[in-house]
């Protein structure tokens, strides 16, 4: 994991001092609220429905046990004893006191954490694959490049006042687990025929009011050109992105207005001036960054023996077997596995986690996974380097702490925004809908039989819950002051990314569990052996689903 040096620390300390001064000026009435607004946003501080909300960056999801304990301390000391894992792999606190935020940021700086650019019209936290460095299908570990992007984008003087927020995601695996095609910039790491590292560059993807799949504007960008090319894209966007209408200000609108081809030409033209400048990455810098993400001290393990032992444990404990099936993934190192701790037990807001649970996770990370964990954009937490021989013990401890719900990837592993319970933008509640659906699908064997289903819920069209790319997406809408829910089908955030189609008229909150049940029934009645929900939908289309859901009661 990346370790801050004296430069990183001094930059962060200067930032904390700057924000403390700005907060003091605001509280003294010297800094008008409209001027304080973008400054506080760039330090992670939103004003929400009930209280401020503070968003802390977890760069590309990597976090260590010391940092997790600090998050627990902040939850306990400054907040109401819990926090929330966001779909940008960040951590959110819902109840901080504005006057204490500089102190919180100062405490976070002690462990190399911050809220820098976690909100606002600037380059946000770069996200990545939560299994980076461990996935068997990985081509190149994306994390060194994410860290290089983190440094370049932090406090970038030219791009702190962009037309709108700006999100970058990087994946280095065959299977995209970072949803790169629905980001402002998505980077897919590739090797060329000579074995050199480069990036396929997608631009102009994104969700929200105008959902778009990104356009590939470069098939192979050599790794040393990463920053100069990003700088060219951002400059074109900063100069030509629309500023007259915030709903048309994202880069996706510019890319569509110009066409991806013309946009790419403008970027290439700009890049000609930049590509051989000082931003060109050096071999030394790439190697330095890679040096922070080397393999931990793995033991040499006989994988067959370890797996046999695990299988024996699974045959004795059905519950452990289920957890293995859903929450444990293959690892590229023999004898190891990657474990997802589910933050989606029924009845808890998806992604919520208490201070004492955070401390337990820190302890588990220390005991089982080299002191490191990862946050995921599906709002769970991963321990990525666990010995198979220790899975059973880990499972018992995770179960006792409440995050061994064996539902990863299933219909109850719901991505869900905070919705109307917390967010001032929301048109409708999301969390109670998630809970009602989880209750509808309580029978685990039945849920497993359904296989992988992404069910995503957003409380408004800003799409923080990524409803457009859920196989089943739910969008909260407001109709004459009453909350309704629109259903979309066929979205997908992975390699063959697609946006969901609206099924038809929206439903009341009470109807939602039944509606989802009917959709699942249509799938079960139509699927071929082994066919996933998304594939059945793509094959048979929306008509059978519509028919069932909107059929008149008989």
């Amino acid at each position: 994991m990346y370790i801050y040096d004296e430069y990183d620390n001094s930059i962060l300390r200067q930032r904390v001092a700057q924000f403390r001064g700005q907060t003091e000026r605001f509280l003294a009435g010297e800094l008008p609220p409209e001027q304080f607004l973008p400054l506080r946003l760039q330090n992670g501080l939103y004003v929400q429905r009930l209280a401020p909300m503070l968003r802390i960056n977890v760069p590309y999801g990597m976090i260590n046990s010391t940092q997790i304990r600090k998050l627990a301390h902040i939850a306990r000391h400054y907040d109401k004893g819990y926090c929330h894992v966001s779909t940008r792999q960040n951590i959110q606190y819902n109840w901080p006191d504005l006057t204490e935020v500089p102190d919180i940021l100062s405490e976070l700086a002690d462990v190399g954490m911050h809220g820098t650019q976690s909100s606002g019209n600037c380059i946000r936290n770069t996200t990545s694959d939560q299994f980076a460095g461990t996935a068997p299908d990985e081509i190149v570990d994306p994390r060194p490049y994410c860290e290089i992007i983190r440094q370049w984008s932090s406090f970038h003087p030219e791009f702190a006042f962009l037309p709108r927020k700006f999100k970058i995601a990087v994946t280095g695996s065959t299977q995209d687990r970072a949803a790169v095609q629905v980001h402002d910039i998505g980077l897919q790491i590739l090797l060329n025929e000579k074995g050199e590292v480069g990036f396929q560059v997608y631009v102009g993807g994104g969700l929200g009011r105008t959902p778009c799949i990104g356009s590939a504007i470069r098939d192979f960008l050599p790794e040393e050109d990463l920053l100069s090319y990003l700088e060219a894209i951002l400059r074109v966007y900063n100069l030509y992105g629309r500023r007259d209408n915030k709903y048309k200000a994202r880069i996706k609108i510019l890319v569509r207005a110009l066409t991806p081809e013309v946009f790419a030409q403008k970027v290439e033209a700009e890049w000609q001036y930049l590509k051989d400048g000082y931003n060109k990455l050096t071999r030394d810098e790439i190697e330095r960054a890679k040096g922070f993400f080397t393999a931990p001290a793995y033991d040499t393990i006989d994988n067959a023996a370890a797996q046999a032992a695990v299988n024996a444990q699974a045959s004795e404990s059905v519950a452990f077997g289920k957890w293995l099936q859903r929450n444990v993934r293959e690892h590229k190192v023999p004898g190891y596995a990657a474990v997802t701790l589910s933050l989606k037990p029924t009845g808890v807001a998806p992604g919520d986690i208490t201070d004492s649970q955070l401390e337990i996770i820190a302890n588990l990370a220390d005991e089982f996974s080299f002191g490191e964990a990862r946050t995921t954009h599906e709002q769970n937490i991963v321990l990525a380097d666990v010995k198979k021989t220790e899975l059973f013990t880990l499972w018992q401890k995770a179960k006792a702490a409440g995050f061994a719900t064996p539902n990863i990837g299933t219909i109850t592993d719901i991505i869900c925004c905070p919705g109307g319970d917390f967010c001032s933008l929301a048109n409708a509640k999301s969390i109670p809908i998630a809970e009602a659906i989880q209750r509808q699908f309580e029978d685990l064997d039945y849920v497993y039989d359904l296989g992988d289903i992404d069910l995503n819920i957003s409380g408004c069209m800003n799409a923080c819950g990524h409803h457009h790319v859920g196989h089943i997406g739910i969008l909260g809408v407001d109709k004459a002051g009453k909350e309704f829910y629109q259903v979309q089908l066929g979205g997908n955030a992975s390699n063959d990314a697609s946006l969901g189609d609206v099924l038809g008229p929206s439903f009341s909150a009470e109807d939602m569990p039944t509606v989802i049940q009917k959709l699942v029934d249509v799938y079960l009645a139509n699927r071929t052996a082994e066919e996933l929900f998304i594939d059945t939908y793509r094959r048979i289309g929306a008509a059978p689903f519509k028919e069932k859901v909107y059929a008149k009661a008989n």
Binding site: Q14, E158, T282
Partner: protein, 167 residues
């Protein structure tokens, strides 16, 4: 006389900023003395204004630095305007004037920028700050130039990114 921050010091502002003309740029009157005129007026009246050495130009946020381009160094001062402080196009324009067009004179932020942007503006090559708001306390504002003193990226004031300087 109004004051501004230049090269970190508070100095007299000896230049008069001329607003955009209501009518044709070609017909706009350009007064005598040190004036910073809209780039559109310069482009329309270049023939007659060529000989004057007491003319600067200013770019609005939607006007490209390319309009000045290679001519940049014929001006002692160029202004980049902030109609709203959230409109960040001037940051790019400033860098382009310095880095692409090699402008070495006074690069002045004008309009509604705020003191909390001073550090970033300086990094983009702006060395003078003329706030539209006459109430601003310039001594206090100038302190913000010191907010951040170490940086990751290449920019005008420090062309070497940290990765080329790290020991």
């Amino acid at each position: 006389m109004p004051k501004l921050i230049k090269d970190g010091l508070i100095v007299e502002n000896t230049w008069t900023l001329i607003a955009k003309p209501e009518g044709e740029a070609a017909a706009a009157e350009v007064p005598a003395g040190q004036v910073i005129i809209p780039v559109s007026v310069w482009l329309a009246q270049k023939e007659t204004l060529q000989t004057r050495t007491d003319i600067g130009v200013w770019l609005d946020s939607d006007e490209s630095a390319e309009l000045i381009g290679a001519e940049a160094n014929r001006f002692p001062v160029i202004g980049v305007n902030f109609p709203l402080f959230m409109d960040g196009r001037a940051f790019s324009s400033a860098r382009l004037l310095r880095e692409r067009y090699g402008f070495t004179g006074e690069l002045r932020a004008v309009g509604n920028f705020i003191r909390d942007q001073l550090c970033y503006l300086r990094r983009c090559g702006v060395n003078a700050f003329a706030f539209a708001n006459p109430e601003i306390n310039l001594d206090e504002a100038a302190k913000s130039l010191q907010d951040l003193q170490e940086y990751y990226q290449a920019a005008v004031d420090q062309p070497l990114p940290l990765f080329r300087r790290r020991a």
